[in-house]
Symmetry: C2
Subunit: 539 residues, 2 copies
């Protein structure tokens, strides 16, 4: 999963863990939790226990902070340099507990110190490199077998070089990986690193991240993960995690959760033996007669159809729980395994589809409209000298769409051009346009058409610009259908004017589609979808 895809799939709604003394969440979540707490407190009038604790710990900083810092730093150093396993466990525990108790600033300081002071030994690398260059390669490869002896020195220095190129912090990572709770701690460490990197681009920290990312990818290979069907019989502590981390369609109450685990529904998670009771990623599935058109159909489908009548397994939500695992595509393997499992258990199910958000559509469309508006106003020079992006005037709307927008009554919509009117409508407070059938009927056609274009044609480095589209396409899905008014929630309207998309995983074509998308960015789409775009071209 790309970092971006994951970050979107993952906007975790985590509840603070009130019976813990430490903040065992990454920085990003700590902040998110603070905001949520404030939000919920103001909305629900709850006591601000969690939030005030967080703030207290932050204001404590200046006092004992330096001493604390030195203490945790010392335990980190022991954890790297120690040889005896008995004390090593203590050092690792002290280090992780100390780290969890740290303020944002101390975490940042410690991570930078780890990245810089526990780096590799460059003079040793240079020494080996010089030895290596002094060796002479046998000219003729065919002679290799006779010259085995010659190669022995190559092998030796290459092995030494491989070791010398390992940063010292690898020892810490390796040790934490085999330490109880260590893998989870590493995932939090990485979440913090990523959070800091969004604020400052620090080369050493970026190198630390890239190394940790590689390590985590190896440790979390699909072979090490256990597919677990999450049911109402699971421990409440696990189900609580599902509620906390469901990122796409928040679970409103216990009944809602129970329905998502009940008849006609499935929920599967990937668990790692070292992080028990907490799926790293989970997917929610609805068993339906046909591919659903709207998320409300799925969430409020009560009672569900008998499972024996289902022909479609609809993946309506996939959520990662670990921001620190960004860039590790667990979702791809999870989807494949779930397809295999469902197909085996219910051979009557022949369609595997998603009902997915289009998180980037409105942002893309509004910036496009704003830019064209400026260009249309003759503000050409400014745009060009800004040099931010060379954009040329483009008729985003078809003449008939432009016309329909311009002919709207002025009390409903304002604007010098159709594009401006559209921009104003889409940015209106409380999405008032959806309450007017006249506005809806005028906007539907251009929005659907532009949405198809956004999904099928807007690319970044050869890959779909939309993060969720990119996620499913790289997993081998095709774009089947876009659905008008499929998600009327505030979130759905602000992301994609309420439009949702069905991606379909076609059995027997998954690898082929993944491959052609991977190698030349080709996006497979149904003829309906292609029709939107082709009519666009003819214009």
């Amino acid at each position: 999963m790309s970092k971006k895809a994951l970050s979107i799939l993952m906007r975790a709604r985590m509840r603070p863990n009130s019976n813990s003394n430490h903040s065992v969440s990454p920085l990003s979540l700590t902040n998110a939790v603070k905001q949520m707490q404030r939000h919920r407190n103001s909305r629900e009038g709850q006591s601000a226990g969690g939030a005030s604790r967080e703030e207290n710990s932050a204001s404590n900083d200046s006092g004992s902070s330096e001493r604390e810092f030195m203490h945790v730093r010392a335990s980190m150093d022991s954890a790297v340099s120690m040889n005896k396993t008995e004390f090593l466990d203590d050092a690792l525990n002290n280090f992780s507990e100390g780290y969890f108790s740290f303020s944002h600033e101390n975490r940042r300081k410690l991570l930078l110190l780890l990245a810089r002071e526990y780096d590799l030994n460059r003079s040793q690398v240079c020494e080996l490199i010089k030895q290596y260059l002094a060796l002479e390669l046998p000219a003729d490869k065919a002679q290799v077998s006779e010259e085995e002896g010659l190669f022995a020195s190559f092998y030796r220095i290459e092995r030494n070089l491989r070791h010398a190129l390992k940063p010292v912090y690898e020892v810490l990572f390796e040790r934490l990986n085999t330490h109880p709770g260590g893998l989870r701690f590493l995932s939090i460490l990485r979440a913090d690193i990523l959070y800091i990197l969004t604020e400052e681009n620090i080369a050493s920290l970026r190198a630390l991240d890239s190394y940790l990312h590689e390590k985590l990818s190896t440790w979390l290979s699909p072979a090490t993960l256990e597919l677990h069907q999450i049911t109402w019989d699971d421990p409440a502590s696990l189900l609580e995690k599902i509620v906390a981390y469901e990122a796409v369609h928040p679970i409103s109450n216990l009944l809602d959760l129970k329905r998502r685990l009940g008849i006609g529904r499935r929920c599967f998670g990937y668990l790692h033996p070292a992080i028990p009771g907490e799926p790293l990623i989970f997917i929610e599935v609805a068993l339906l007669k046909n591919i659903a058109h709207s998320i409300q159909d799925v969430l409020e489908d009560s009672p569900p159809i008998p499972e024996s009548e289902a022909t479609c397994a609809l993946f309506y939500s996939i959520s990662s729980t670990q921001p620190g695992l960004a860039g590790i595509n667990l979702g791809k393997f999870l989807i494949k395994r779930v397809i295999t499992l469902v197909k085996r258990e219910m051979p009557h199910i022949s369609t595997f589809a998603t009902l997915s958000p289009i998180p980037g559509f409105m942002q893309w469309l509004l910036s496009k409209l704003a830019c064209q508006k400026r260009l249309a106003e003759g503000d050409m020079s400014q745009t060009l000298t800004e040099g931010s992006n060379l954009t040329f005037y483009e008729k985003i709307l078809k003449p008939e769409e432009e016309e329909a927008l311009m002919s709207l009554p002025k009390d409903l919509a304002m604007g010098q051009t159709g594009m401006e009117t559209m921009f104003n409508l889409l940015t209106s407070t409380s999405y008032k346009w959806i309450h007017s059938s006249e506005l809806v009927s005028v906007l539907k056609s251009p929005l659907m058409r532009l949405c198809a274009r956004y999904i099928l044609q807007e690319k970044k480095r050869g890959k779909a610009l939309d993060s969720v589209a990119n996620f499913h396409l790289q997993n081998g899905a095709m774009v089947e259908r876009i659905n008008w008014m499929a998600d009327r929630s505030e979130n759905g309207l602000s992301q994609s004017a309420g439009i949702m998309v069905n991606y379909v995983y076609r059995l027997g074509h998954i690898e082929e589609y993944a491959h052609s998308y991977f190698s030349n960015g080709e996006i497979h789409a149904s003829s309906d979808l292609r029709h939107y775009v082709e009519s666009d071209k003819k214009q």
Copy 2:
């Protein structure tokens, strides 16, 4: 575990798997099995089904061998270069099945090809190295934080260099590791590599082995292994493995096996999720009143004492099942976990000891005696010019021992000196010396004394020369006691004149002892043991 220790702990008595069409055992075992088969056939008069199949497949070689070889080679190549996971699984299956069907010669050819043709890209490494040397390190490390930017190029090239230094065959290893059955296949591949290396020292193959060894160490870290108590309720297919692989004290029949899993006994194995139903290593434990003096006491202790009366957990056998995992110390972690587990379940047990063979004692003693005999005969010049090892004349026997040996009646023992007499007695056919109480009483004193010296003082590169001693000492045990006539089996007599040793794992001192042994070769021993050696010095 050192390779040597493991190779000794592991002399596998594997039964051929008669319902398989392929030889899925490593080369070394295939040969061992052939020998065993012949042995058993001649002894037990069984049909030679297994052995003749092996030989047939070997004699088939010349015919279709080349075509077969090219076929498996092609699947190996696909397994390395392929991107699509669907076909990748097929390629990996074809490769492993093809490999299993190979003769010794074809396996050797394929492994050499893998080592040489799927090596790393040396010109790419050289290119990166030159780029690296062109960079300039900031002179002052304190300036680092201001010069972050400068470091970015270092990080980049170091990362690229790390990747370039990975041989191409790493892809194959990584893919096999996550492929069902792949880890077991890799362990067999490595067993074959090690077997070939005992016959020929090939640099590229040694590099392949060293790389695979490192990979396997990571994948088989104790965190990935499951401790399993093996009981009579386990599947017969697993129990069969215990019978096949018990290397130290062969299991003679079903009753014997049942007793080893019954009251007063425990058997624990380490299982890896990817190699189900087959422990990688297992340990057999007897719950006793005191540390046992002889293996017969343990094996024939019937009925065992009530478990509630036990104060000692005696590790009387530890066997590895995978020759391909040589050099990966699983035993150390297994012993520690078993100690923790037993201690928790039975707090009345306070002593954790072994009753261990001394596999190298007789070999060491006989070569010492032979050498001294030659020196005594004035054959000094030859020894020195051979230059094999500069050995000086040494009074191996104390005067009273020498005297006792020389005063034996001539019909019992022959020799010009005490040492020669001893040598002749110890190498006599069928160990006839143990049947004469007179000979036993004369030999006991020098043999016990020299055995203590062998265990406590004979070193190789600072570590105990005896492989089993080295294994337990590096795990943190101390030498408690040596036992006369502790193993009267043919094997016990030929290895160590029937002497066995108790190593003790002293709770609270395990790490300390392991550390002092690791850092300066210090061997902790009971005062009784030290007494043997000190009296030796006074001489």
